[in-house]
């Protein structure tokens, strides 16, 4: 059959099926009701998807001893397959040492992971990638496009893209961070020119926003939840942090990504927070409320309301995708990794806390919520790197690794982890 025959047949078939379709008329009130529901999810122009927005990227205290530049190679796994769950304390909080040796082997990370140049895909297969510089972060889109953030030996950063057909694009000059919206429909980064860029599913080149941030270094921290219409939504925005070179002062901005809209506005301009860390899909915010020479406090607020609850025991990091739980780490970031990893429920009740001891020292360097009940953390302990799945029920299991490596450069990258 020729293309003309087939396309003609297609048009007739689609028309025949479409013509059979007639529905009851949609009343305006019903549309307005749905619109109100959508609007509730967008608060004060600052609704940011939680799935990819994870963690303040501040180097934290290194407790582990130096592992000493071993070659990265997988070690044989000898674990059993039953996840390990420490007993909860009387308060219901699971507290245990941050010790990830000998955990049972669980499923690989749901969105895959990268070790060196080898990409482990969600379906269990592997593929080699060839980027101009090592990958330090990446995100995946739902059409299997992979957006890679690279950093060369001199610290120069860029973005390269492997689209769903396997075609390679870039490198594109970029600053810190690559982010993805909650639906994995678009990825974004900030160019060295201060413009946010984003890459939609099935795209062949990045789109540049007319918005532009200025004043120091930039970091893309999250994409708005409302970017799910291919960047056309009037509320599509990127959360960008700028850091002044002279003072180190960080400021958070929301930069519009919508065509023809070049607005940049302060995120959380009401001074409840000194810095914004994450926002849930339903408009709640995590922010730092106070930073001192010895610690910090983090809080949660909804929309423009006052801070609902806060803690000075940990630094709150990220909402789970549905906002039911929050990950957290040490309350004072000053080195390479956190000696503490914790989680809270949305009401502020702690659900687990794993803490290094003098005799058992491990550090968590990055983390990302895998789903609403599990958070993946990249952990260094005794010269090896582990990807550990922490359940909100206190369970723990190994998702990838262990891999030999020094305590500075994690040999494994988990998509979305920061």
């Amino acid at each position: 059959m020729s293309d003309d025959d087939l396309t003609g047949q297609l048009t007739r078939t689609l028309t025949r099926y479409a013509d059979d379709m007639a529905g009851p008329s949609l009343p305006l009130a019903q549309v307005q009701g749905r619109a109100r529901s959508i609007r509730r999810r967008r608060t004060a122009g600052a609704v940011v998807g939680a799935a990819a927005a994870v963690a303040v990227v501040v180097p934290t205290l290194a407790l582990a001893t130096h592992g000493g530049g071993h070659r990265t190679e997988p070690l044989p796994s000898t674990q059993n397959t039953t996840s390990q769950t420490p007993s909860p304390s009387q308060s219901g909080v699971v507290r245990a040492p941050l010790d990830v040796r000998g955990l049972p082997l669980g499923d690989a990370p749901a969105d895959g992971y990268l070790v060196g140049r080898t990409l482990h895909l969600p379906n269990g297969s592997t593929t080699r990638i060839t980027t101009a510089a090592p990958v330090d972060a990446y995100v995946t889109l739902s059409d299997d496009t992979i957006v890679l953030h690279t950093r060369d030996a001199g610290g120069a950063t860029a973005v390269e893209v492997i689209d769903s057909h396997g075609d390679h694009h870039g490198p594109y000059p970029a600053t810190d961070g690559v982010v993805v919206d909650a639906n994995h429909a678009a990825a974004g980064w900030v160019g060295t020119d201060g413009h946010p860029y984003f890459w939609n599913e099935a795209a062949t080149k990045p789109d540049r926003s007319d918005a532009q941030v200025s004043g120091g270094s930039f970091e893309a921290r999250a994409l708005a939840d409302t970017c799910d219409s291919g960047g056309t939504s009037p509320d599509c925005a990127m959360l960008v942090r700028t850091t002044a070179p002279s003072t180190g002062k960080a400021t958070d901005w929301l930069a519009s990504l919508s065509p023809g809209d070049d607005t940049v506005q302060r995120a959380a301009p009401d001074r409840r927070f000194v810095g914004l860390t994450d926002l849930s899909y339903d408009g709640r915010e995590i922010g730092l409320t106070r930073i001192t020479d010895t610690g910090s406090c983090s809080g949660v607020a909804a929309g423009a309301a006052p801070v609902t609850w806060k803690t000075c025991r940990h630094t709150l990091l990220a909402f789970s995708p549905r906002g039911s739980y929050l990950s957290a780490d040490v309350n004072f970031h000053s080195g390479l990794g956190s000696s503490v990893f914790a989680a809270y429920d949305y009401l502020g009740h702690q659900v687990f806390e794993y803490r290094s001891r003098l005799s058992v020292q491990a550090t968590v360097t990055r983390s990302v919520w895998e789903d609403d009940a599990h958070v993946l953390a990249i952990v260094y302990q005794d010269g090896r790197w582990y990807v550990v799945r922490f359940g909100v029920d206190g369970s723990r299991e190994l998702a990838a690794g262990p891999l030999r490596g020094n305590d500075v450069d994690a040999p494994v990258v988990v998509p979305g982890a920061r």
Partner: protein, 194 residues
């Protein structure tokens, strides 16, 4: 902020009047465009329930952006773009789990398509094969061969390049040709359509 100005008849404010005018304007558009948008949504989703839900969401998003979009004079293109992308988005919401489920459905539907072709005619087989296409390719097919948009217009709706539209369409046609029954004869279907 001061009180909104009152009109001379008392009661209704200028702001209220503007909102009423806006809603009336939107309601006219809704009534006029809903049937055709529902047909497109049905082709994208393959079932009535999802199509109606998709159309409602697309119009709700349009309602929120009405002033901005109306002034740009590009309402039809905008709402169509919302519809198509929202379809992908709805599909994506639980994309990991559903991907497997859809794959299974596709396999079953393709099997059924071949059976249907032998008993009910080529149209049903082709319809099932279209529903088995990946969502983006299906959107390209619907926009190109039902809406009869040009490649450039299709690219604009989907927010992708013309080259990608060409390659997606070409791949979709090849896939349909492979999946459709070998004895599919367009001339027979033409006669059936008359």
């Amino acid at each position: 902020m001061g009180r909104p100005p009152q009109d001379s008849t008392g009661g209704t404010t200028v702001v209220d009047q503007r909102q009423d005018d806006r809603d009336a304007d939107f309601a006219s558009y809704l009534a006029a465009r809903q049937p055709s948008l529902l047909r497109t949504a049905y082709l994208l989703t393959g079932n009535r329930h999802d199509a109606e839900d998709l159309v409602q969401t697309a119009f709700a998003k349009l309602y929120l952006s009405w002033d901005k979009v109306r002034d740009r004079g590009s309402v039809d293109g905008y709402v169509r773009r919302i519809l198509v992308n929202e379809h992908s988005s709805l599909w994506r919401r639980a994309w990991k789990r559903r991907e497997h489920a859809v794959d299974d459905t596709v396999l079953h539907s393709l099997g059924a398509a071949h059976e249907d072709a032998r008993t009910d005619g080529s149209g049903d087989a082709l319809w099932n094969a279209v529903q088995g296409l990946p969502r983006k390719a299906r959107a390209v097919v619907v926009l190109r061969y039902y809406e009869e948009l040009s490649e450039a217009e299709t690219a604009a709706v989907l927010g992708i390049s013309v080259g990608t539209v060409k390659s997606q369409a070409s791949r979709a046609l090849a896939s349909l040709r492979d999946r459709a029954p070998k004895d599919l004869d367009p001339r027979t279907s033409e006669e059936e359509d008359r």
